[in-house]
Amino acid sequence: MDFGNILVNAFGELISPTTAAYALAALGLAVHFGYSGLLNFGQAGFMAVGAYGYAISTLSFNAPLPVAVLVALLSSVVFAIVLGIPTLRLRADYLAIVTIAAAEIIRYIVTTNGLTDVTGSANGLAAFEGGFYGLNPFPPGRYNIGPLGMNERDFWIRIVGWSVVIIACLVVWLLMRSPWGRVLKGIREDENAVRSLGKNVYAYKMQALVIGGVLGSLAGIIFTLPRGAVQPANYATELTFFLYTCLLLGGMATVLGPVIGAMIFWVVLSLTQGLLYGAIEVGAITFLTNSQAGQLRYILVGVALMLLMVFRPQGVLGNKKELAFA
């Protein structure tokens, strides 16, 4: 068992573009759930809208990168508004069911064979990342971040991904300490109190849903770029549940919580994978196959989510007073 290698892999997960995407999507959920109390279980749908919006406008319409990103973000705004109109007046658990259903509708639609020309159905779309890597200012070569070596493409996506995360964190931080953010937190604590102050609760909720959704669709683009492919199976309901695990790990009404939560999530997954596979390799564990070891990690994710919710709902960074529920 090569402990050095396992640690390097775990460090790789810490700064991987997937972690950045999870952090960004979980930050969107923090705006929805942590700050506004909206139980959005359809974040995977927002990510799918972003990824497909980008890929389809690049492939089907030859749109340049800024236009494709803009299309992706606008589609997620439209999705948020369409989703918000019927659901934002509903109680939390209805909202959860409707958003999860809407995300699944998106997934069924991009999977259907009738739209294979546009969405590639179950196989998804590929080869749309050229425009992004075309902007890469770094010359070909090896780049090192700490102990981790990578080529110029991997380096570029990490720089961009994490820059977006940092900017998004700043924006959310500024928003939440503004008067607008205080109203939002007021809605989370007591909707009727805020309404009695003459605020349009519905409009505030809608704005929060749109902002979190835009973060989700940005996350979808960053998630799909390093893979070079977008496939519907990646955007199932489990993705949303993993994002909730990240959010609750870090602390749901904090700016840095979702980022740290996503990092912990992926580092722990990578460490357990490395240790389990290593133990199987050297024969220390004989009752597990490699694929069972993979499933064991996700059993742990489920158990961790339960334990977190029961024993430390405020997460690592959170403040127990700032919970979206009593």
């Binding site: 139980l39 109109i85 019927p86 659901t87 007046r89 509903l90 109680r91 939390a92 658990d93 209805y94 959860a96 069911i97 409707v98 999860i100 259903a101 809407a102 699944e104 509708i105 069924y108 639609i109 999977t111 259907t112 064979n113 009738g114 294979t116 159905s121 179950a122 196989n123 309901t237 489990e238 549940f241 909730y244 695990t245 609750l248 694929s291 069972q292 499933q295 064991l296 996700y298 059993i299 994710v301 489920g302 158990v303 961790a304 989510l305 339960m306 334990l307 977190l308 919710m309 029961v310 709902p313 979206a324 529920f325 009593a326």
Partner: protein
């Protein structure tokens, strides 16, 4: 002409009645995919039968999604091609390999497109003989047939939905782990059946197992949480964590493949001009009887009245001497049993047992419950039947792989105009 019709109708049952016959060898044309065809979970199949009986040694090919597979029909005329992914494939029959004197019937497309519809196998039948025109079913017959299948599917959903709705009504919990309780029923039935027990015994044991799971869940998880005063949203998120853990525990033990319960390839029964598979008909009758029994228990027995009282107002029920914890425990056991039975019927309906089968219908169960009104038992029944009918009937117009979309859309629309659901009361939406 009658003989030809018989071929059309017999084609499918013949394929399904002989699952134990050797499957014709399949081999890859593409060297790039070095996996054995049998290892794929998805397959395209059919049976070749002429006027005089099965047609053997005919080559059939399937191309699509960058894959090419080939099969030869066996002595019973059956062929099967394993494919790596669900999707649309072009299936062609090599007419040069047909025996002399046998030709494809007029109007039979060759090659033709075959599309998977959320199940692991897709069936296509080639018809042979001169002068045969495939029977174009009239619209009303198709509608009646879809409606019957939808009714069967809706009742199956209702079994799980009634349990979910009872649990919601008495505890306020939106249980995302209900899908896994459905899976557990089917997986247990498969485990008991493959341990050598007769399928009837296996099903009874699996339903008891489902009840046990409900009991243990309540005793070890939900009751302590209720007593801590945990809020409804945290409980909902706990149920998501539980669902994830349970799903992967099932996959850990069961594996990722789809397995079949004994007798999953039932014959087709003809009722007048419409046909339904024997399994679907049995499923319809079983779920109808069980639901009537549950309704009777709820309306006519002391414990049923107590359940409805707790659902209405737990504090008042406790004050009038009802043991609320006992009622909730019974509700969990019954909910678990109903979900397990629903899972077994779902395994026959799909057909197949897999670790994520419950997750696939969880949203449809939710749709049924919300359509009828959260927390109302008869609402869950009505809502589920509507969802089942809608899913099946919509396949007449919609692509089969979009059939769940319609049901989910209907749910969202109903919530838009009547958020309390069909039978729900206004106050429940808060």
């Amino acid at each position: 002409m009658l003989g030809f019709l018989a071929i059309v109708l017999l084609g499918a049952p013949a394929a399904q009645a002989s699952p134990q016959l050797p499957v014709p060898a399949t081999h890859q044309v593409q060297p790039a995919t070095a996996v054995q065809a049998q290892e794929f979970d998805n397959n395209i199949r059919g049976v070749l039968r002429g006027v005089d009986g099965p047609i053997a040694d005919v080559t059939v090919t399937a191309t699509g999604n960058g894959f090419e597979g080939k099969a030869t029909s066996g002595p019973n005329g059956a062929w099967r091609i394993g494919v790596p992914a669900q999707g649309t494939y072009e299936v062609a029959i090599d007419e040069d390999t047909l025996p002399d004197g046998i030709t494809l019937a007029e109007g039979q497309e060759n090659p033709r497109e075959v599309t998977f519809a959320n199940t692991s196998s897709a069936t296509t039948l080639f018809l042979f003989g001169e002068g045969i025109v495939s029977q174009q079913a009239n619209f009303l017959d198709t509608l009646a047939e879809r409606a019957l299948a939808g009714f069967s599917f809706g009742l199956l959903l209702a079994l799980s939905a009634v349990g979910l709705s009872l649990i919601f009504g008495t505890t306020g919990l939106t249980n995302f782990a209900h899908g896994e309780m459905v899976t557990v029923g089917a997986v247990l039935a498969f485990a008991f059946a493959s341990a050598g027990l007769p399928i009837a015994v296996a099903i009874v044991l699996a339903v008891i197992g489902g009840g046990l799971l409900g009991y243990v869940q309540d005793a070890a998880l939900w009751k302590p949480l209720r007593h801590r005063g945990t809020g409804l949203v945290p409980m909902m998120i706990v149920s998501i964590g539980f669902a994830l853990a349970l799903r992967y525990i099932i996959q850990f033990n069961f594996g990722g493949a789809t397995q079949q319960l004994p007798g999953s390839q039932g014959e087709i029964i003809n009722l007048g001009s419409i046909s339904i598979s024997r399994n679907n008909l049995t499923s319809l009758i079983v779920s109808l009887v069980i639901i009537l029994v549950v309704a009777f228990l709820l309306l006519r027995t002391r414990i049923g009245k107590a359940t409805r009282a707790v659902a209405d107002n737990p504090a008042l029920a406790a004050a009038s001497g009802i043991d609320v914890d006992r009622v909730i425990r019974i509700v969990w056991v019954i909910g678990g049993m109903l979900a397990a039975l629903g899972g077994i019927l779902w395994a026959y309906y799909r057909p197949g047992v897999s670790y994520n089968m419950g997750q696939q219908i969880l949203l449809l169960i939710f749709a049924g419950v919300t359509l009828g009104g959260l927390g109302t038992v008869f609402g869950a029944l009505v809502g589920s039947i509507i969802v089942g009918l809608f899913v099946e009937i919509s396949t007449i117009w919609l692509e089969a792989d979009l059939k769940y979309v319609g049901a989910l859309l209907i749910m969202i629309l109903v919530l838009l105009f009547r958020p309390q659901g069909i039978l729900g009361r206004r106050e429940r939406i808060g």
